[in-house]
Symmetry: D3
Subunit: 132 residues, 6 copies
């Protein structure tokens, strides 16, 4: 059960109504995902979160699928149930099949292991060429 009452999809709060309409138009969906209905309990934060997510997730140097793959990798590493569900659906919608999903998660699992080994052995960073 959410810790706040989810704001109705037809809220008449002007900030909420504007953000909800933009979420539907931008994502081409006809419902408001639960996270946005929870965030709407504090409208200014809803607006900050949505405008930022919209800006960051639009295709740029990286395409939409790569950005969703990163979102899934982060969500899996943080074990976030809600976001894993969302971003798995998103990468599938963008065309990644089970084999591709298996590859994403294999890399995620691998580096969750390697990260801890590198930390556990307290290995010093290698001196590597940087492109900066």
């Amino acid at each position: 059960m959410p810790t706040v009452k989810l704001v109705p999809e037809d809220s008449t709060d002007p900030i909420v109504a504007e953000v909800f309409a933009d979420i539907k138009a931008t994502k081409k969906i006809d419902f408001i995902p639960n996270i946005w209905r929870a965030l709407a309990s504090h409208p200014p934060h809803l607006q900050l979160c949505w405008t930022r997510l919209k800006a960051i997730m639009q295709p740029g140097k990286l395409d939409a699928l790569t950005k969703e793959i990163i979102a899934l990798a982060v969500s899996a590493t943080n074990s976030c149930r809600y976001c894993i569900n969302s971003h798995t659906a998103a990468v599938q919608k963008l065309g990644l099949d089970n084999e591709g999903l298996g590859e994403v998660l294999a890399v995620v699992g691998l580096f969750n292991q390697m990260n801890k080994l590198a930390d556990a052995y307290q290995v010093e960073p290698d001196i590597l060429p940087r492109a900066v």
Copy 2:
């Protein structure tokens, strides 16, 4: 300081020597990164780690850059200093410039935030179409 003595690059242990040679050949480098020299303190584990990393990181459905981007996203989410250093260098070597790197980390930062908000509001997963 590493918690074990790093195994010399010219180790004559047969397992270590074979893995070290394969690391150089596969990665086309002429030195052994510190993590492998630490893992070599227990050769069977070195071998398990390397053969698995080699298998998972070879291009498949996902190309090499996408896999390295996932590795960086996981390492950043886990705050692993050694691995962030390695995989930042790797994505740069594969052609990602500062703008692309900025986009990767913007998505990483965004979902580290969104993951915690979704968890904090205890939002139930949306019912979404699945491609399974």
Copy 3:
């Protein structure tokens, strides 16, 4: 399902009975929250945990609400379902409304993002005045 059988609220184990009575008296509640009933499966640890929590959570330099806000911030960052539920209820009981809760979680979300960006760019700490 808990991994151990929850100890009944009317346990006659002397350590458990004493701690359970003190929990009810201190928190002014008439039931024993599940976490304490689980910890009671190993009474010495129950006692250690409770006496320490009681000591740390009593108002001092910081008032009760601020301490509960910290508890919520930590629990949200760790994504602990049980504790998020408890401490959200606690801050609400102490008078924080949805706008205040929204502010707490906005700060929590923000620094979960900023922490990972600072780590990902491997930024050196600034030289700042310290009050020590």
Copy 4:
């Protein structure tokens, strides 16, 4: 060593220059903390991060010290070296002494423990009154 070249404090990039000036004015400091100089390697992300941080951190229902305490609690839970340094200095600047800092960290330590115990025993959330 940061993974990107820190942008100079006197950068002439218009977005960077504007944000840097606003950071100095808002925080009443005469230098640019390293995190902002790193983020400036991708100016649009710098701007998104700063405008959002500025909005969230201004006093509202919660005062400035409480917000900085939350920032420290999150940073400590995430073990972020850079941010722990910044926010410890910030709470000290706002008047928290060593005893108060000790209380903050005692609560942080306590719930990092309790969170894991609640998860480890897989305790079901208590049914609690909610103020929503």
Copy 5:
């Protein structure tokens, strides 16, 4: 609900069938735990994971119970619901009673606290004798 369709226990995929048979024989169980049925959606990764787990978990310098205790300590620290359930059952099957389990989790809770305090105070590592 898993994000992929669990592969049936009687799968005729040759890699899957071989791994599933080995899981049953090695663990002396007559069903396939859900994690392996999910991993089977990408057979090469299933095989990599299983052969590695089998190699690492066989008794060596450390006996089977100690290895399962480590698995539980890691899973509790990561708050992994599925794995906490599995490894709690495993340590119980290997003879650890509630008092022993209480001791394991007491140590887990303790160092989740101490880790964060050490990080929060930014304490430098002690100079200690090493056995390397």
Copy 6:
């Protein structure tokens, strides 16, 4: 640099002096590790932490080495630099050689991977016999 001034080993604060003496006697060492000198900046918390650690770490159902191995597994999973250093030295002092250490860390690495895969595939817990 620690965020507080480390309290001198010869502090005359009565609580600090008593705890420091007990640390030396219990651990059979002739110096005070840095973490305790930092915690001493808030003496009541120092005392709470030490008495609890002393109680939990004494041999019970589990021997001293197993408890130190758990401490190392937790510290490695949390990537705590200070504590990894301390507990690696502790397990070595108690007789674990590099092969044994390699086994501990192999199990730690393995389940940091498996935990994330179980979470990422959102696998339901298996129905298993419990010994409760």
